[in-house]
């Protein structure tokens, strides 16, 4: 089995898993869901690091890779922090006021 075929299977299964998982998310949390998946998709930072950190990287690779690391880290950091900030606000019932 060629690697790309294997990759396609992984993609197909992960997409179905995604469909099933997202269906289970309450509409209440759709905004945090979007910001969380956005942070997760900043996994592109892996590609950016590989490009930037290479010994023989060309100037172009270095510049593009550097920008990509910056953008991806920006998304990772702000994505997770904002998701958590939003989730902290969702409270079932506030403490009874006397």
């Amino acid at each position: 089995m060629g690697t790309y075929e294997f990759d396609l299977w992984v993609f197909m299964l992960a997409a179905f898993l995604g469909f099933q998982l997202i269906r289970g998310v309450s509409p209440l949390l759709h905004t945090p869901l979007m910001s969380l998946t956005n942070a997760i998709s900043a996994i592109t930072v892996v590609g950016a690091i590989l490009l930037t950190g290479e010994r023989e990287a060309s100037t172009l690779s270095r510049i593009l890779g550097f920008s990509a690391v910056f953008l991806a880290v920006l998304n990772v950091v702000s994505g997770y922090l904002i998701t958590d900030r939003m989730l902290k606000m969702f409270k079932k019932r506030e403490p009874q006021k006397k």
């Binding site: 990759d7 945090p32 996994i43 930037t52 953008l71």
Partner: protein, 465 residues
Amino acid sequence: MTLDDTLLPILYMLAAMGFILAIKWLGSPATARRGVVVGEIGMLIAVVATLLRFEVVNYQWILVAFFLGAAVGIPIAYKMPMTAVPQRTAFSHACGALASALIGTAEYYKGLTQGGLTKVVMIALIIETLLGFLTFTASMMAFGKLQEVLAQRPITFKGQNFLNLGVFAVAAGIGVALIVSPEQTVLFPLFAALALLFGVLLIIPIGGADMPTVIALLNSYAGLSAAAMGFVLNNKLLIVAGALDGSSGFILAIIMCRAMNRSFSNVLFGAFGQLQTTAAAAGEAKPVHSASAEEAAQILDSARNVVVIPGYGMAVAQAQHKLKEMFELLTRRGVDVRFAIHPVAGRMPGHMNVLLAEADVPYDKLWEMDDINPEMSNVDVALIIGANDVVNPGAETDPHSAIAGMPIIQAYKARTVMVIKRSMNPGFAGIDNELYYRDNTLMLFGDAKAFLSSIVKELGALAKV
């Protein structure tokens, strides 16, 4: 066997498990914060594992970029007001998509000199850069519209769809040419430019109320671009994370479309706003009943149960905190107050829920459309704040209405309907709302926040008597 061969795949697999669990736990409010933590751990494992790979030797630029990313990201995360969440989301889609596109571009030029641009790699690379570039400009346009730097109104012109599809077709054609023979280096900048242009063109005809669908769709594209990068780099972790993000955005977009009874192509190419001129003239002269804050407060106070239906107008007026005060006062006076949230209320999926949560409204008081509708006929007062089309009975009764068939919150079934609204201008869809002319409807004219303040004041006065 090096360390990379044995340990790396396991670390990446652990990271993927972290992401899957993160989304799973986000499913309910009780476990959601745990989900964020496990997602963070997954990302940390992935980053550290990548930094330790033997190809990665040059650290200074990476560390500088890490520092800068965190220096910009942390203040955004803590300082941003919750009303700006839709803009922030559009902006982060733009950043993520641009990162993918830049990496794809670099991989292409690297492959030209070092080899490795096989057909499969080129297909993945073209998909990655196409989605990356177009999502970047489309998200920046969406950001501009949400931030109101650009007009929220949809802009349409003759031959627009023809132009848009034409640009896309040419971009796709050049993409295919590049797949066939990657060494045609002149074509790549052209390809990138057309993809960027298409992103702009795509959003020009989109109006504010279609933003929930469009943002979800852009979320999906950004994820698919990341997955395509996984194919280029032969990295399963990227494929899994990208597929999760891609399917998440896609499902949300479907939910939004269903909530408007429209198809994707109708949202993207339907240019909803065109109807404005024809429909607006219809109901100008009809009489409406209006009421003062004092009367409204009395009606609310004597009700047994109240359902509040918020829309984008609440977000614009930042009325959620005043609404919470009203909720508190009424609850203390023994009135049962619930909030009914239409899936497309606001500018992104879940927008209203976040704003009300910010104002400390307990989330078990937030009801979904399908759950509240069967109970609407037992409701004493439906209070509509800054929502219009999502409560328009025309969607059910008038087959010629532009929103015919759109599921609505059946506010009209309540004994009394009160609508806080600035003026009689029709809403986004440009359709007159017959709800406003009914005998049991009271129009409360004014700014949502100011009007709610007066209601709160009147309720306070009633409480003292």
